[in-house]
C-alpha cells in the first residue's frame, strides 16, 4: 500500500477540539464532520485539501477528547496518512480502529515542510519527501496491530475471531 500527496503541516499538541470542534458533534456524518475539519486553526484546509493528501503534526497529535469524530473527519476530508512525532493514545487507537493510517516518525515530522509532496510506502514504513529527496524510516506497527489493520479494522477482526 502506498500514498503520495501534498503535506498540510501543523505544530505540537494538535487537539481534538481543533481537529473537529465540539459544536459539530451533534452529527455522526463523516462528510459533514470533514467540512469543519481544522477550521479553528486553519480555515483554508478544507478548501484546499485533495483526496490522497498527507497531514504532518508534532508531539502529542490528537490530544484531548476520545471523539472518534476526529480521525473520521481527517480521513473523510481526504487525508491518506497522518505523520507525527507522537500521538495521543486514544487518537492512536481510534485511527487504527477506523482505518486511518498513522505513522510515528520524529525525523520526518521535523524535516518535512508544509506544501511538500510526500510519498509513503506502508509496507516498508519508508517516507520520502519528494520535494527535497530526503527519506525517513517510520516505526513499524507491532504484529498485533498489523493484524487489526489487515483484517480491516477492529470490528472486522473481532467478528473473524468469534
Amino acid at each position: 500500500m502506498k500514498a503520495q500527496g501534498t503535506v498540510y503541516k501543523y505544530g505540537d499538541n494538535i487537539d481534538t477540539d481543533v481537529i473537529i470542534p465540539a459544536r459539530y458533534l451533534n452529527t455522526q456524518d463523516a462528510k459533514e464532520l470533514a467540512s469543519h475539519c481544522m477550521e479553528d486553526i486553519d480555515k483554508s484546509f478544507v478548501t484546499k485539501v485533495k483526496q490522497g493528501d498527507i497531514m504532518v503534526g508534532g508531539e502529542n497529535f490528537g490530544c484531548g477528547s476520545s471523539r472518534e469524530h476526529a480521525p473520521l473527519a481527517i480521513k473523510s476530508a481526504g487525508i491518506d496518512c497522518v505523520i507525527a512525532k507522537s500521538f495521543a493514545r486514544i487518537f492512536y487507537r481510534n485511527s487504527i480502529n477506523i482505518g486511518l493510517p498513522i505513522l510515528e516518525c520524529p525525523a520526518a515530522s521535523e524535516a518535512i515542510a508544509d506544501g511538500d509532496t510526500v510519498a509513503i510506502d506502508f509496507d516498508t514504513g519508508v517516507i520520502t519527501d519528494v520535494t527535497t529527496g530526503a527519506t525517513f524510516q517510520a516505526e513499524p506497527f507491532p504484529p498485533f496491530i498489523q493484524n487489526i489493520i489487515q483484517k480491516g479494522g477492529l470490528m472486522a477482526s473481532i467478528r473473524e475471531g468469534k
Binding site: 470542534p21 486553526i41 477528547s65 472518534e68 507522537s86 487507537r93 481510534n94 480502529n97 498485533f144 470490528m155
Partner: protein, 419 residues
C-alpha cells in the same frame, strides 16, 4: 520484577500471573461506558458488524450527559438513538434526563465502578475511576462497540510514573490545584501512554472528591490512567455504595517506575492554567490583571458536592462582580438536590449566579455559556484548548471551584485566600 498497581489489575483481567510494560494483552472488562456523543457512533459500528447482543446488560452503561436536555434537533436524534438501543438490549444502567448526571460523577456516586475493576469508556475522562482503585481508561467509539459485544479490549500494558504526595492539603487548596500543578510540571504529553500512580503519606489528606478530580485530569498529561491506592478513605467511600464486592490491589515493593515526581502538598498554592494548554500553570495570586467575563463551576472534574460547598463558602452572602456571568452546574441529580436542601442554590442565586441541571454543556463549548470573541472565562473544567468554550478568540482559564468563585466576586483571576 514487581508490578505496579495498574499492571496487577491488568494481569488479573487477562488471566496472567504477571504482565510487563509494553506487552499487548486482551483483557476482560468489568464496565463499558458511553455517552450521547460517542455511543451513536458505537451503535453504528456494533450494528454494521452484525452483533445482536451485548456481553452483559448489567455492565454496559449509557449516560446522556453532553448535550442534554437536548440543545437542538440533531442532538435530540442522537439521544433518541441511544435510548432505542438501550431499550432494545435492556441496558440496566441507562441514564436519561431526570436520572442522569455527568457520567464520571454519576458512576462512582452510584457505586457502579469499584476497586479492582478494569473499565473502558468512550470518553477521555473515564480515567476518573482510578480514584476508587480501578484501572480505567478512555477509548473511542469503535472500542466501545467491541467492548459491548465481547466484554474484552486490547491494551498495551503501560509503564508508570510514580507521583509521591507529601505533606497535607489545606483548604482552599484542593485536588484541582494538585493536578494542575502536576500537569504544569510534567507537561501535556509528560505521561503519554503511561500510568500515573499516586502514592505517599499525603494521600490520606485527600478526600475522594480530590482524588476523583486528580485522576479525571490524568488524560491532560497524556496518561492512559491515573490511580490511587485503596486506603481507609476509599473503602469508607465504597462501603454501602459499591454495587459489587471489590478487590484491593497494591503495587509490589519492587515495581518499576520510569520516573518519580514529588509534590509537597503543604506548599501548593491555588493554581490556574492559562490558555491554551492545561500545562500553562500560574499561581492564582498573579492573575489580578486578567479581567474575566464568565465563570463556570461544574463538570466531571469539579461538579461534586464538595466542589459546590467550596464555591458556596466563598459566594454566600456576597454578590458577583458587575459584568461577570456565573454558571453553576451540579454534576448529578443527587448533587443538584443536595444543593437545594442545604440552601446552596438559594445563596448562589442571591449571589447573582445561575444554577443549571447536570450537563457537560459549556465545558466543551457544546451549548449554554458559549463565549463570544475576546471573552475570558475562569472554569473548573478540564481543557482550555483554542475554541474549547466558544469563539476561536475566546480564552478559558482552568481553576478550582474556590478560585473560580473568588474570581467571580472580584471580576479578575483571584486567589481564594484573598477574599
Amino acid at each position: 520484577m514487581g508490578m505496579t498497581m495498574t499492571q496487577k489489575i491488568l494481569a488479573a483481567h487477562c488471566g496472567a500471573d504477571s504482565v510487563k510494560a509494553g506487552q499487548l494483552i486482551n483483557a476482560k472488562l468489568d464496565i463499558v461506558l458511553g455517552n450521547d456523543i460517542t455511543t451513536p457512533v458505537a451503535i453504528n459500528e456494533f450494528e454494521k458488524a452484525g452483533f445482536n447482543s451485548v456481553f452483559d446488560k448489567t455492565r454496559v452503561n449509557i449516560v446522556l450527559d453532553h448535550f442534554v436536555p437536548n440543545k437542538d434537533i440533531k442532538s435530540a436524534q442522537q439521544s433518541k438513538k441511544c435510548r432505542e438501543f438501550a431499550n432494545k438490549y435492556d441496558i440496566l444502567n441507562f441514564y436519561d434526563v431526570g436520572t442522569m448526571g455527568i457520567e464520571h460523577a454519576l458512576l462512582p456516586e452510584k457505586g457502579i465502578v469499584t476497586a479492582g475493576d478494569c473499565i473502558i469508556g468512550a470518553d477521555s475522562h473515564t480515567c476518573t475511576y482510578g480514584a476508587v482503585g480501578a484501572f480505567s481508561t478512555g477509548v473511542g467509539s469503535t472500542d466501545m462497540a467491541a467492548g459491548m459485544a465481547t466484554g474484552m479490549a486490547w491494551f498495551k500494558v503501560p509503564a508508570a510514573i510514580k507521583v509521591v504526595l507529601k505533606g497535607a492539603l489545606k483548604a482552599p487548596v484542593s485536588g484541582k490545584d494538585v493536578i494542575l500543578h502536576l500537569i504544569g510540571t510534567i507537561g501535556v504529553s509528560g505521561a503519554l501512554y503511561k500510568s500515573l500512580e499516586f502514592v505517599g503519606d499525603g494521600v490520606k489528606s485527600l478526600t475522594m472528591e480530590d482524588r476523583l478530580c486528580i485522576c479525571n485530569m490524568a488524560i491532560e498529561a497524556g496518561a492512559k490512567n491515573g490511580i490511587f491506592p485503596v486506603d481507609e478513605t476509599c473503602e469508607a467511600y465504597l462501603t454501602g455504595r459499591s454495587q459489587r464486592p471489590w478487590v484491593k490491589y497494591e503495587a509490589d515493593p519492587d515495581a518499576e517506575y520510569e520516573r518519580t515526581v514529588e509534590i509537597d502538598l503543604d506548599t501548593l498554592v491555588p493554581t490556574v492554567a492559562y490558555p491554551h494548554l492545561p500545562e500553562n500553570t500560574h499561581p492564582a495570586s498573579e492573575g489580578k490583571d486578567i479581567a474575566i467575563d464568565q465563570v463556570v463551576i461544574g463538570s466531571c472534574t469539579n461538579g461534586r458536592l464538595e466542589d459546590m460547598e467550596a464555591a458556596w463558602k466563598i459566594l454566600k452572602g456576597h454578590h458577583i462582580a458587575k459584568g461577570v456571568r456565573a454558571i453553576i452546574i451540579p454534576a448529578t441529580m443527587a448533587v443538584y438536590k443536595e444543593c437545594i436542601l442545604r440552601g446552596y442554590t438559594t445563596d448562589f442565586i442571591d449571589a447573582g449566579c445561575i444554577v443549571s441541571t447536570p450537563t457537560c454543556g459549556p465545558c466543551l463549548g457544546g451549548y449554554m455559556g458559549i463565549l463570544a470573541e475576546g471573552e475570558r472565562c475562569v472554569s473548573t473544567t478540564n481543557r482550555n484548548f483554542v475554541g474549547r468554550m466558544g469563539h476561536v478568540d475566546s480564552e478559558v482559564y482552568l481553576a478550582s471551584p474556590a478560585t473560580a468563585a473568588a474570581s467571580a466576586l472580584t471580576g479578575h483571576i483571584t486567589d481564594p485566600r484573598e477574599v
